[in-house]
């Protein structure tokens, strides 16, 4: 069995940089997501704010929470789709 010697300096430097870059990446991702949320989701949400998108509004007397399901017969083309 070959014993691994100490890692060369440049290797340790590179691995250290990867750790720092990882943290930078996390911050960058958070910032990008924040702006995406505020500037992409935000305006659309404001436009639709009066719509009950998740049907949270309560049921009226005699109403049901059942909805018709999609009863289209399955076929190969449809099954190939991710939607």
């Amino acid at each position: 069995m070959i014993e691994a010697g100490p890692k060369p300096f440049y290797r340790r430097l590179y691995e250290g940089w990867l750790v720092i870059a990882g943290h930078f990446g996390e911050v960058q991702t958070t910032v990008i997501l924040f702006f995406s949320y505020v500037f992409a989701i935000g305006p659309a949400a404001l436009v639709m704010r009066r719509k009950d998108l998740l049907h949270k509004k309560g049921l009226g007397a005699g109403d049901t929470a059942w909805n018709d399901a999609d009863s289209t017969m399955p076929d190969l083309e449809r099954a190939k789709r991710l939607f």
């Binding site: 991702t29 924040f34 949320y37 989701i41 309560g58 049921l59 399901a69 399955p74 099954a79 991710l82």
Partner: protein, 595 residues
């Protein structure tokens, strides 16, 4: 034609392989990776399925994924629109995972599995419905699926006829019975998508004092079983928790800290949400019967694992027959997706009927002995009948707790006599002993019994098969006794089988026939011949937080790490006192996070 079904990315990933419509193999990824509820691409489970069938990935004609990722993503985006700006934390956590992995299912599956052929997608509840109906014994049945959420649907009613199934109606996110139950699981300090069954086990210790309050404030329940949740009290649509401060304020208690003491309030909350769940399920079932007029019902989805509710459906529901697939949760979606493609998309006739749950790997006596020899573990090999008699003797005369490893591993979350820990159900001390010294789990949790099918009615109030431990019924000849409960000594029901009788006199029964599992059946018979009792404690072969054992090595390690007395691996019997001390350079308790 070979069709491989896959479920993954959320919890309990799994694979199932059909050959010309017959199930060849099915397994949960967690059993191979030893990571409980493993959500990753089920690479090891797929490898096993292909090996069992003796084929390569190139021989697979269709790979079928168990949901439609784009529709799920649409639901996520619409939810963020509806909950802006409160959903920022959830958005920041979920979106990177979607952008990196979940939106690119074809590419991810190709990378991990090396599959380059035709890829198909079934909707989540279509997969559940297919897993419930297509392997069932019925030519025609009403279908009910109930879970947390798939794409949009959280519950569906449908009908299956021949090789076709049709979903008729659905309840949509965020209104979800599965998520309601998970919200209470979270509030009671247990792990969501993992420990819901603990809430069910805790319910008999409490009184459903909050039943009316739940129906008044949280759930608008209609006569047809449909309902809407008052989302003012829940956070799962926008946050990283299931409930919010309004929920805690409503009930006057904060979220219970995990592993802290359960007090009366918590037992009562468990009892209350269980009662609400049963009421909703019963109303939906009655409505479904009224609409379809059919006599058979099949169920799937995580809520179908609620065997207390299933027991009430059998006793009080209008359907004559109920069949629930052993892997009714998301893992079962792998089987459902494959069967959906085979029958509903490719229009192949049905011929396969699932009549047992043993679809995982098996190990021969030669393989077991090779492992034990390499490990230098002392063992004795018996003839089959001798092994059965000796095991029954240890269970009875020595009151031994036995690790039992026989044949192909179970499909589904329950140990059903292939990878089980067994003990004498007549000995009350075995409840505490197995819970605390072997499984290292909460003392309130009950144990399930396995019983010879033909003698089940002598011991339990059960008039039908329950091969997958998915029905709860009452034990016969109950007596009231002072019983030690988590709240101290109280008057509770018990029986001549105190180790498997829950405090309300119920038991989650597994009936065993010879056709289903010959060795397990013969062991129960040998025990019956010795003792006049055909009932054993049957609990999963694992410790708390660990997936059920898969290989002889997993079984041996679990045996050595706990206070089990005897291990039976095929025809080999190992005595704990003969074994060399187990030396490990890590603490296994840290490996398995508490569930």
């Amino acid at each position: 034609m070979n069709i491989l079904g896959i479920s993954c990315f959320y919890h309990d990933s799994a694979a199932a392989l059909l050959r010309d419509g017959d199930l060849v193999a099915a397994a949960h990824e967690e059993r191979f990776t030893r990571k409980r509820h493993d959500p990753d691409v089920p690479k090891r489970a797929v490898e096993y399925c292909l090996a069992e069938a003796g084929i390569e990935m190139e021989d697979v004609d269709y790979l079928v994924f168990y949901d439609k990722p784009f529709v799920k993503f649409e639901r996520l985006l619409v939810t963020y629109l509806a909950t802006f700006p409160r959903s920022l934390p959830s958005f920041s956590k979920a979106i990177p995972v979607w952008l990196k992995e979940k939106l690119w299912v074809p590419k991810v599956l190709e990378q991990h599995l090396g599959y380059k052929g035709e890829l198909l997608f079934a909707e989540h509840h279509q997969s559940h419905a297919a897993s419930a109906f297509l392997p069932s014994p019925y030519e025609e049945a009403a279908i009910l699926t109930l879970d947390g959420v798939g794409e949009w649907a959280t519950a569906t009613q449908g009908v299956g006829r021949g090789n076709k199934l049709e979903l008729l109606r659905e309840i949509r996110f965020p209104h979800s019975l599965g998520l309601l139950y998970s919200a209470f699981t979270y509030y009671l300090g247990f792990k969501v998508n993992s420990a819901e069954y603990k809430v069910m086990g805790a319910a008999p210790y409490g009184t459903p004092r909050y039943y009316d309050k739940i129906l008044e404030h949280l759930v608008d329940l209609r006569e047809d079983g449909s309902f809407k949740l008052n989302m003012k009290y829940f956070a799962y649509d926008y946050g990283l928790t299931m409930t919010n401060d309004a929920f805690a304020k409503l009930f006057g208690h904060p979220v219970r800290d995990a592993e802290s003491k359960m007090d009366e309030f918590h037992w009562d909350m468990a009892a209350s949400v269980q009662k609400v769940t049963e009421e909703i399920v019963l109303r939906i079932v009655r409505d479904l019967h009224k609409r379809t007029g059919l006599e058979n019902l099949v169920m799937a989805g995580g809520v179908a694992l609620n065997c207390v509710a299933n027991g009430r459906v059998v006793r009080e529901g209008p359907f004559e027959n109920l069949w629930v697939q052993p892997a009714a949760g998301d893992a079962g979606g792998a089987l459902g997706a494959a069967m959906f493609a085979h029958h509903c998309v490719l229009d192949q006739p049905r011929k396969f009927r699932m009549d047992h749950a043993y679809w995982g790997p098996a190990f021969s006596d030669a393989e077991i002995r090779a492992f034990l020899d390499a490990r230098k573990a002392p063992y004795k090999t018996y003839g089959r009948d001798e092994m059965l008699r000796e095991t029954a003797r240890r269970l009875d005369a020595e009151q031994a707790v036995v690790g039992w490893f026989q044949g192909r591993m179970e499909w589904g979350p329950r140990s059903l006599g292939a990878r089980s820990i067994l003990a004498d159900s007549r000995n009350k001390e075995n409840w505490v002993r197995v819970n605390k010294k072997i499984k290292f789990r909460e003392s309130f949790r009950p144990f399930a019994p396995a019983v010879l099918r033909e003698k089940a009615a002598d011991w339990f109030d059960l008039d039908r098969e329950s091969p997958y431990m998915l029905l709860v019924c009452q034990v016969k000849s109950l007596i009231e006794q002072d019983v030690e409960t988590p709240n101290g000594v109280q008057k509770r029901l018990t029986s001549s089988l105190p180790a498997i009788t829950h405090v309300d006199g119920s038991a989650r029964v597994q009936t065993v026939t010879r056709a289903q599992h010959a060795e397990f059946y013969d062991l129960l018979q040998a025990f019956d011949q010795r003792t006049g009792c055909p009932v054993l404690i049957n609990t999963s072969f694992n410790v708390r937080g660990e997936p059920i054992v898969c290989t002889p090595e997993d079984a041996y390690l679990c045996f050595m790490r706990t206070n089990m007395d005897v291990l039976v691996l095929g025809n080999q019997i190992l005595d704990k006192k003969d074994q060399p001390q187990l030396v490990e350079d890590f603490d296994w308790r840290e490996r398995y996070a508490l569930d």
